[in-house]
């Protein structure tokens, strides 16, 4: 594609095309979008974050990441669609315009680029990073068990061959540490949203402990509002609640870490499941998935905007 308008949002793209898309979007919207490279993956790929900002310095901000589990292709595809949606809606949609006039949005579309590349070239079912594990023939770490939040506890594996291997220590993966360093140095994130697939759930902290987080009541009602908005388009039904009560115990997860950093509005999504395809969600599902998810994202972003803390 020669520009972001002719990019085909309704299909899955290899990583070089997503990188090109990001550069096109920045070039076409220099006053709104910039690209920040927050680090490098193990194999040396840039960890690109798109910053949507209308000005100001160190404004309160919203973090969104997609694709930390590489095989969940609908998340990277949805992230690409979100980026274009933000550009298209700024100045047209009053709610998004108000948010962007006061806050910045940071979007990392390919959070695990080595895994994403590998899932396109060698193993479509790859979930983890691609860093070798000393003493093991098995490769990679589950980057959503590698955060410093209950790290090493139940709900993550200590075996390098497991799909949920937590890694040798918290933040051992550059893909995770780069976000940690960036979010800490920024210091003004007010929402942190991670997108996964599939199971149709909207979850909030905690995953590593049964102890309810102190904002449990507010997060629960916000999740309810978000999944109601999501369902308004196609009737897609989501379950919602804390990770440990809704799915299972999981330690070392991203939103438990972000919440413990003081980012109150920390959520993770499990996107659409047609009931037949799992991670091989057909391409005709991409735009409906992204469109309905956007409703929920707007609910969370709007609540964050209207409830400063």
């Amino acid at each position: 594609p020669k520009n972001a308008d002719s990019y085909d949002y309704a299909r899955y793209h290899p990583i070089n095309e997503i990188y090109s898309f990001q550069d096109m979007l920045v070039a076409e919207n220099p006053k709104l979008v910039s690209k920040i490279v927050i680090g490098k993956s193990y194999e040396g790929r840039p960890l690109n974050v798109l910053k949507f900002s209308t000005g100001g310095t160190n404004r309160p901000a919203i973090w969104i990441d997609t694709g930390i589990h590489s095989r969940e292709w609908v998340t990277q595809a949805s992230g690409t669609w979100f980026a274009k949606k933000i550009v298209d809606d700024y100045g047209r949609d009053p709610a998004l315009t108000a948010i962007l006039n006061k806050m910045d949005i940071y979007l990392e579309i390919v959070t695990n680029p080595d895994g994403y590349y590998f899932s396109h070239t060698s193993n479509r079912m790859w979930r983890k990073t691609r860093k070798p594990n000393p003493g093991s023939s098995c490769i990679g770490v589950d980057p959503n068990r590698n955060w410093d939040a209950g790290f090493g506890g139940a709900g993550a594996s200590g075996s390098p061959c497991a799909e949920t291997y937590r890694g040798p220590k918290a933040n051992s993966e550059s893909e995770v540490k780069s976000i940690v360093d960036f979010v800490k140095s920024h210091g003004n994130f007010k929402a942190f949203i991670s997108l996964h697939a599939y199971s149709q759930m909207l979850l909030y902290p905690y995953g590593y402990t049964k102890t309810p987080c102190k904002d449990d009541t507010e997060l629960h009602s916000l999740a309810k509002k978000a999944v109601t908005d999501l369902a308004s388009l196609y009737g897609t039904r989501y379950r919602f609640g804390s990770i440990i009560n809704t799915i299972y115990q999981a330690s070392g997860g991203s939103i438990d870490w972000s919440y413990n950093q003081g980012i109150k509005y920390s959520f993770t999504f499990e996107l659409r499941d047609t009931g037949r395809y799992g991670f091989i969600l057909p391409t005709n599902q991409i735009i409906p998935t992204a469109t309905e998810t956007w409703q929920a994202l707007m609910a969370i972003m709007n609540h964050t905007y209207k409830n400063p803390y």
Binding site: P1, D8, R11, Y12, T121, S122, N123, R124, M125, S159, C161, A162, E163, Y198, S199, T246, I247, Y248, D273, G275, R276, Y277, G278, F279, I280, P282, T283
Partner: protein, 96 residues
């Protein structure tokens, strides 16, 4: 390139907490080489697991001997991946 000929994705339905625990135990059992696509949550929610072809027979016997209901969500994963790849290749050729 890793392929998945004959791998199936089984959708398992636990009828009670005991069966749920049995499925949960499978996740820690590396002998079957299972890949949990959708993990264990509660009895209302099915569990989706990719099973390599060479372990299909033993895992199905294990499920049936424990009276755990299951259905075949994906009959041949590689066939579905091939379809996905064909779709991507043909979509990429359209501009050409």
């Amino acid at each position: 390139k890793e392929t998945f000929e004959g791998h199936q994705v089984l959708r398992m339905y636990a009828k009670n907490e005991d069966q749920l625990a049995l499925i949960n135990d499978l996740e820690d059992n590396h002998e079957f080489e299972l890949d949990f696509w959708r993990g264990v949550t509660d009895v209302r929610t099915p569990v989706d697991v990719r099973v390599p072809h060479h372990n299909l027979r033993s895992i199905k016997i294990h499920l049936e001997s424990n009276a755990i209901d299951y259905s075949i969500m994906i009959g041949d994963l590689q066939a579905m991946l091939d379809e996905e790849r064909m779709e991507m290749v043909s979509a990429a050729r359209v501009p050409e």
